[in-house]
């Protein structure tokens, strides 16, 4: 008769919290952090892994044309040439960081360390100057010179071709993982403190007169989970839009699919963790005690997070593979492995199945512990007592 009552609970938890100052602040902080990361990347120059250098030259030396002509000969390098009136001006520009290096009298002047690609480019420019002298001597036509300069390019053939977008996707996956970690943690704690709020204010007894403990727990998890999901989607959408506008990324398609992946895994992981957080909240009676009961759950999430960070550099290590399948850590580790393309289809399927199965197994167990603990005010309730209280 009142089977849908959990929806009322979910609606309250959603709408009460969305108006809370802490929600607004956490959204703003998230947006600020994400924006900062994106802006740094945008200023750092594009997402396609091509290096771009500004090179200063002293005008009328002929270097200007040569460098411009050579720029597309060196693979993965883009050059912008800036002319200066004299040697001093060029050196000053290097010191001030206006250019990455200056070519002066066949020497490359840099501020600290010269990037290899810049050296390569400068070397070619210097060599070209030498060649010009010799070519002039034999009066080689300009057509032949062009053939010589832009002539047959070196082809690179790789036996294991990597995804050219890998670094960009990795970056997006990394940001997604950090977001997901924050959401899991933050909204899990919100579930726990929401349960505790009802317990410590004793309103829970009135609520339990209108519904079963399990319905109350389910409603709270759904309400807070939906809020976390809404915030994740909002922040993710904002991040992708900002990244596209600023040019920090240029792959809207893969960014969107990574975002979808994260959203899907958030739902799975939140469903898994939320009932644990709910039980933790039901075990204690005061806010100060909450941190202590949360330690085991928090620890598992933090360990999962660090394993997942290692997945970025080493996505196929045995530890990362196991972590990406277990429901405790799959949400953080698996998206990274999928994005870099090492996850096998059965691993993905297994992680999803395990996550759903363990959640379905956990909910009745957690529901019983929650029901046994939530009416016991006073000190901290032991898990075993809570389990037995309901019998």
């Amino acid at each position: 008769m009142n089977r849908g009552i959990w929806r009322l609970v979910a609606r309250r938890d959603f709408w009460v919290r969305i108006r809370e100052r802490s929600f607004v602040i956490s959204t703003l902080i998230n947006l600020a952090v994400i924006s900062t990361i994106i802006m740094i990347r945008a200023v750092g120059g594009g997402g396609d892994g091509e290096a771009s250098y500004r090179i200063g030259v002293v005008s009328d030396g002929g270097d200007e044309d040569r460098i411009a002509a050579l720029a597309d000969v060196v693979p993965g390098v883009r050059a912008r040439v800036l002319s200066f009136s004299g040697e001093d001006a060029a050196r000053a520009a290097v010191a001030a960081g206006h250019v990455d290096g200056a070519l002066i009298d066949q020497s490359l002047v840099v501020d600290e360390v010269a990037p290899a690609q810049l050296v390569q480019l400068a070397q070619l420019a210097v060599a070209a100057e030498q060649q010009d002298v010799i070519l002039d001597r034999y009066q080689v036509t300009s057509q032949d010179r062009d053939v010589l300069r832009s002539g047959p390019r070196l082809k690179v053939e790789s036996l294991q071709p990597g995804d050219p977008n890998r670094s960009q996707n990795e970056a997006i996956a990394f940001v997604g993982m950090i977001l997901l970690y924050g959401q899991l943690f933050g909204y899990g704690v919100w579930v726990a403190s929401g349960v505790l709020e009802e317990k410590s204010s004793r309103v829970v007894e009135i609520l339990l007169a209108a519904m079963r403990a399990r319905q109350l727990m389910a409603g709270k998890i759904v309400g807070i989970g939906l809020l976390g999901l809404a915030q994740l989607v909002f922040i993710g959408g904002f991040a992708i839009a900002l990244a596209l506008v600023t040019g920090a990324i240029d792959l809207p398609g893969s960014a969107a699919s990574i975002a979808l992946l994260d959203v899907g895994y958030f739902v799975l992981a939140f469903a898994f963790y939320a009932s644990l957080f709910a039980v933790a909240g039901a075990l204690v009676s005061r806010m100060e005690e909450l941190q202590n009961v949360l330690v085991p759950v928090n620890l598992v999430i933090i360990v999962s997070f660090f394993i997942s960070i290692s997945a970025l550099s080493n996505p196929d290590s045995p530890l990362v593979r196991v972590a990406s399948i277990l429901p405790t850590s799959s949400a953080l580790a698996m998206p990274v492995r999928i994005v870099v393309g090492v996850a096998l289809w059965w691993e993905v399927a297994l992680s999803v199945v395990l996550s759903i199965a363990s959640t379905l197994l956990l909910i009745p167990l957690a529901g019983r512990a929650y029901a046994g603990a939530v009416l016991r005010t006073g000190g901290r309730v032991k898990l075993r007592e809570a389990w037995r209280a309901h019998a």
């Binding site: 009142n2 009322l8 709020e197 204010s201 309103v203 339990l208 007169a209 209108a210």
Partner: protein
Amino acid sequence: MLELIGLSRRFGDVVALDDVSFNVPEGELVGFVGRNGSGKTTTMRITLGVLDAHAGEVRWRGEPADAGARRRFGYMPEERGLYPRMRVHEQLVYLARLHGVDHAEAGRRATELFETLEVDAKPTDRVESLSLGNQQRVQLAAALVHEPVLLVLDEPFSGLDPTGVDVLAGVLARQAKERGVPVVFSSHQLELVERLCDRVVLIERGHVLAQGPIDELRASRMQNLLRIEVAGADERWFDVLPGVQLERALARGVVLELTDGADTQRVLDLARQQGEVLHFSKVQPTLSELFREVVQA
């Protein structure tokens, strides 16, 4: 009518309730009396379905009380509680909706209760910002907002000032007499129970020791006691009468116990010969006396 039939409940090895049975008829106020830890709260929680019984049954209007029936019950737990940071009106609407009232109707009733209970607050105030007295009124409103078909209140009078007691007593009486709602409440204030209730249930260590209409309980325990005050009489003026014994001496006057068919009127005649009779009445045991007697037995 609410019927509790053979309720039993243990907590670990502790037996909290053992075969508790009593009824709360339509339109009656039933006082639920017992010492702390005697099982009142457990009984009420089982009635509301907050706690499960290990044996026995709660019946409502002749049927086993299911979730649907219980949803229409009204409950005020001993441990008062509302969401401290939720706005008053919004909170009442939410609680009404949990009990199956639709949104518009819930809003109307919340507003109405604000007036009838004279809650001195704005509907948008947060509960934590209200004075204690107003919080208690909102708590009562929370129990009434879905127009319950049964009211179960755990120590509703504790912590109320005399005005609050009167307001609550009036509300409960109206619920019972005007809306015909069965009302059961627990209280340690036995004078209050005596004044308000039609029936009383007396519980001790999980057992119902006595129950029934207060007058009947009294009559069943009524000894033939007279309280007499005579100005200027001898201390033992009644000794000459057969079958009359001193039950206890009061600061002014005495309480006499009449046995073996001793005649009340002869006692009065003798008293009048002793001097001016200032007081002469049959002594009815108060609920407190009944309570002590039953609990000590």
